[in-house]
């Protein structure tokens, strides 16, 4: 059952807050101030779960969530999804029997956690959906999920694919290594891959199979497609780990100069791979934003009450991230006006690495 924290007018004013209709914060910064002042005395209790902490993206997100939780006085119990829908379901059956102030979840696959999450919501607890849909979007609203914080997976894939296609010269053979088929993010990235190619009839998709986020499967698929199509020009993988594995196979085959590889997530290792020229591009899937914002939204709901939080926080919050390439825009005609160049004619990689290390992006 949700605990609505004591929130008197005196506390409200002490916290430097703005009073509108009912209880309302001027903005999230004033809420953060308020929570910082009460982090020790009025802790909030939360359950969080991601698909699996063995994944570097998920682990980075967990770090960010814990950082934000510590900042806001949220005691988080983490339930590792272990990249296994059945195990995560078992843990959610357990979560549903306990009392939390909010619950945040990145499901392994769509549809597997609906029953326990409905029970959690029915008990008056705020549930935040992170990155992957718990249920189809219309059902998500019917269930009463507070908000869905996610990246635009289609756009991320499309952005990277535009760079890949430019490197291919708009023609040739390409292969796609998908993520986990039941993962809505993977499905959207697959759609972004197809959307990007729709305007390029001279590009042939010679292979399109799920790699299940598994680097060994990605490597095996790459070996196989290179055997069948030694003239392959590009590979797009649904995440960076698989893209880097594919790139390694390409280099082992001595085709490093022929085949360009793109991925998604912009994890630190991938940023370095882009800087080294191993990957042509990646796009930031901002795990720190998704997980950190989930903590903020959950703490907010636990403080002002679920109904008010529902009225204020939209059902969908986009967590955006930029596309990253190693290319420097060095148009000599604009040398005197670098603000007209992409990224001011500078590399964005170092800045992104710094933001990730600070749990901001």
């Amino acid at each position: 059952m949700s605990t609505k924290h004591n929130f008197s007018r005196r506390n409200f004013l002490k916290g430097g807050l703005t009073v509108g209709a009912g209880l309302a914060f001027g903005n999230l910064m004033s809420f953060i101030d308020y929570r910082r002042a009460r982090a020790q005395s009025e802790p909030i209790r939360a359950a969080m779960s991601s698909a699996g902490l063995a994944g570097s993206w998920n682990a980075q997100g967990q770090d960010a969530a814990m950082y934000w939780a510590n900042l806001l006085g949220v005691e988080v119990t983490w339930f590792d999804g272990e990249f296994d829908a059945a195990k995560q379901r078992g843990k959610f059956d357990q979560i549903a029997t306990e009392s939390w102030d909010f619950v945040a979840v990145q499901p392994n696959t769509i549809g597997t956690l609906v029953e326990p999450i409905q029970a959690i919501i029915d008990a008056g607890t705020a549930v935040i959906d992170m990155d992957t849909l718990v249920a189809p979007l219309d059902q998500l609203q019917e269930m009463g999920v507070l908000t869905f914080i996610a990246p635009d997976n289609m756009f991320m894939a499309l952005s990277v694919m535009n760079r890949v296609i430019a490197k291919m010269g708009g023609s040739g053979k390409i292969s796609h290594i998908g993520g986990q088929p039941g993962h809505t993010g993977a499905q959207a990235r697959g759609q972004g891959f197809l959307n990007a190619l729709a305007q390029y009839p001279d590009i042939e998709i010679v292979d399109d199979q799920p790699g299940n986020w598994d680097v060994s499967q990605a490597a095996a698929l790459t070996e196989s497609v290179l055997n069948r199509h030694p003239d392959l020009k590009a590979i797009f993988a649904d995440n960076d780990d698989m893209a880097i594995a594919a790139r390694q196979v390409v280099e082992n085959a001595g085709l490093g100069d022929q085949v360009v590889v793109g991925g998604v997530d912009a994890m630190p290792s991938a940023l370095e791979a882009v800087a080294n020229g191993q990957l042509v591009a990646t796009c930031r899937n901002p795990s720190c934003r998704i997980h950190g914002w989930a903590v903020v939204a959950g703490a907010y709901a636990a403080t002002v009450g679920l109904e008010q939080a529902r009225a204020e926080i939209p059902i969908f919050v986009l967590a955006d991230g930029p596309v990253v390439t190693a290319e420097i825009d060095s148009n000599p005609d604009l040398a005197a006006e670098p603000w007209k160049l992409a990224n001011y004619g500078l590399s964005s990689i170092e800045g992104q690495l710094w933001l990730e290390s600070q749990y901001i992006l």
Binding site: L53, Q62, T77, W78, F79, D80, E82, D84, A85, A86, K87, R89, G90, K91, D93, Q94, T97, E98, T109, I110, G111, T112, L113, V114, E115, A135, P136, G178, Q180, P181, G182, Q187, P210, N212
Partner: protein, 342 residues
């Protein structure tokens, strides 16, 4: 009672004392899995305020229910000294067949469920046939079968999740008897599955033949047991159990998934062996499987109930405790066997 060394009755008394201690030791070691389970329950009850609650014990039962159905079939197979690596993939395919027939082809119940169970049973039969007719080791035959079932699942689903499920699957996996807070049907299905397995193994001629085949194939053949037929039937039973587990799992998870859930295979074998059923065959049974499932379920659930444990250490701790439980269960069981022999 003190024993005087110069007393003429001393040797007999010592023998009597040793015999009594031996009996107690045998009784103690025979119940090793139970002590392990009790130790875990006591530990987690002390370590976590949320563990020892009726609703959480109900959770543990629900969490191991799918494994229990898998485990029923796997117990038969392991008792013959063989193995079935296809159960997770067969279960995934069974769920997808039922969901696809129901949601995409508009077949009404019970046709989708019967078709799914039929397909999984057939796959088990194929595995058994390949092993007995062509002498392919069950390890390889069922591994191939796993790829076939997984491939068919991907082909049928085209990589998509189906969440419009047949009523039977939804009832078996998510239904409750007695209202919203009533008893979960999945636990009843698991219990019935285990009970049926136990009755067959304990009270039928076929059950005795399963043990004989696993204990010594050549000896079983010498006394007239058709060991090939026994193996064929056990793998068929395993296929059926996997199909049922797939239907139930789909109902519990609320969707049919395009890929198999990988942990089902290892968790099932782990739980069955943990209870005391030997990988080499001939020893164990459903009661041992029940104990193994309860130990495994309690361990997993209990660790999740202790939030102070470092999340990155949980798998390590699970492994260490499992190893310790195996040592207690299997080494002590081995000692019991040696004691009996001597």
């Amino acid at each position: 009672m003190s024993i005087q060394t110069d007393n003429l009755d001393a040797p007999a008394s010592r023998l009597r004392t040793e015999s009594q201690s031996s009996v107690w030791l045998r009784r103690f070691t025979a119940l090793a899995p139970l002590w392990t389970l009790l130790a875990l329950v006591i530990f987690f009850s002390i370590a976590s305020p949320t563990f020892a609650r009726p609703i959480n014990f109900n959770n543990i039962l629900a969490q191991i229910s799918t494994l229990a159905i898998f485990g029923t079939g796997m117990t038969f197979v392991l008792l013959t000294g063989e193995i079935d690596l296809s159960i997770a993939a067969v279960a995934g395919l069974a769920g997808m067949i039922a969901a696809y027939l129901y949601a995409n082809l508009d077949y009404q119940e019970p046709i989708p469920t019967i078709a799914a169970l039929g397909a999984s049973t057939l796959l088990g039969l194929v595995g058994g046939f390949a092993s007995t007719r062509f002498r392919i080791p069950t390890f390889m035959a069922t591994l191939a079968l796993s790829l076939i079932a997984g491939g068919l699942n991907t082909y049928v689903s085209k990589g998509r999740v189906i969440s419009d499920l047949p009523e039977i699957a939804a009832f078996l996996g998510s239904g409750r008897i007695g209202g919203q807070s009533g008893f979960r049907v999945i636990i009843i299905v698991a219990a019935l599955s285990l009970l049926a397995g136990h009755l067959v193994l304990r009270y039928t001629r076929f059950g005795r033949y399963v043990y004989m085949t696993g204990a010594s194939k050549s000896a079983a053949r010498l006394v007239g047991v058709n060991t090939d037929r026994i193996l064929l039937i056990t793998l068929t039973i395993s296929g059926f159990a996997a199909g049922l587990a797939g239907i139930v799992s789909m109902g519990r998870l609320g969707s049919a998934q395009p890929i198999a859930i990988p942990s089902y295979l290892i968790d099932t074998i782990g739980a069955v062996v943990l209870g005391g059923t030997a990988l080499t065959g001939g020893r164990g049974g459903i009661p041992q499987t029940v104990m193994g499932l309860l130990i495994y379920g309690t361990l997993r659930n209990g660790l999740d109930n202790i939030p102070s444990i470092d999340i990155y250490l949980k798998d390590f701790i699970t492994g260490v405790v499992l190893l310790a439980a195996l040592v207690v269960n299997l080494v002590l069981s081995g000692r019991r066997a040696r004691d009996k022999t001597s």
